[in-house]
């Protein structure tokens, strides 16, 4: 299956969505690298990567629909799963970071 067979209505929006997804994911990961402390770094991956994932999933749905000549929406499974689970991970990590910082401060103040 070569890529030159897709019709224009699928390949053009898919290209725009792919570029947007790449830029968003890169911004999220660069935020992970560059922001000063952990509580600021939390925001980069959780928002940038989730937005990038949405863009790439939409592009994948478009291309798969054009390729199979029917509606393909299994990608919604990944979208629903990630939207459900990424806040849970973020909450757990944030709780862990708060707890560990608090313990560290308590041990530092008693010494």
């Amino acid at each position: 299956m070569m890529m030159s067979e897709y019709p224009l209505w699928a390949s053009l929006p898919a290209s725009v969505l792919l570029i947007a997804g790449g830029v968003l994911a890169l911004i999220g990961s660069a935020g992970l690298l560059r922001l000063p402390n952990f509580y600021a770094r939390m925001h980069g991956p959780t928002m940038g990567n989730t937005l990038g994932l949405g863009c790439v999933l939409l592009a994948s749905m478009l291309v798969a629909s054009a390729q199979g000549e029917r509606l393909v929406f299994q990608e919604l499974l990944i979208a629903v799963f990630v939207v459900l689970t990424s806040p849970i991970t973020a909450l757990l990590l944030m709780q862990a970071a708060l707890y560990r910082d608090r313990m560290e401060r308590r041990t530092a103040s008693t010494e």
């Binding site: 299956m1 070569m2 890529m3 030159s4 067979e5 897709y6 224009l8 390949s11 053009l12 898919a14 290209s15 725009v16 792919l18 570029i19 997804g21 790449g22 830029v23 994911a25 890169l26 999220g28 990961s29 660069a30 992970l32 690298l33 952990f38 770094r41 939390m42 980069g44 991956p45 990567n49 989730t50 990038g52 994932l53 790439v56 999933l57 592009a59 994948s60 291309v63 798969a64 390729q67 299994q74 990608e75 499974l77 990944i78 799963f81 990630v82 689970t85 990424s86 849970i88 991970t89 757990l92 990590l93 709780q95 862990a96 970071a97 707890y99 560990r100």
Partner: protein, 93 residues
């Protein structure tokens, strides 16, 4: 006109690879343990995006299943590691 899709796929692949590189640098450098777990989380999400983009590139549906499995096991791993940092054990009696 369909060259546009090829170039967009290449651009997106480069973007995700750079994102994974950022996450790996943070994973190696990160001052605390929760920084490293956050970097691992970003790493698996970027890898899943890479696999999905490769699926668009090669026009195969197998890559979708791989991406779904990566989402499932990545979440389980990140949640387990965060729980371990929080409590000291993963499954409490």
């Amino acid at each position: 006109m369909n060259m546009v899709l090829t170039w967009a796929v290449s651009f997106a692949l480069i973007g995700f690879a750079l994102g994974m590189a950022c996450a790996v640098i943070r994973l190696l450098r990160g001052p605390a343990a929760h920084d490293r777990i956050l970097a691992l989380d970003a790493l698996y999400v970027n890898g899943m995006l890479l696999i999905l983009t490769l699926g668009i590139r090669f026009g195969s549906r197998v890559y979708f299943d791989i991406a779904l499995l990566m989402a499932l096991f990545g979440f389980v791993g990140s949640a387990a590691m965060a729980k371990f940092l929080l409590r000291g054990e993963v499954i409490e009696p």
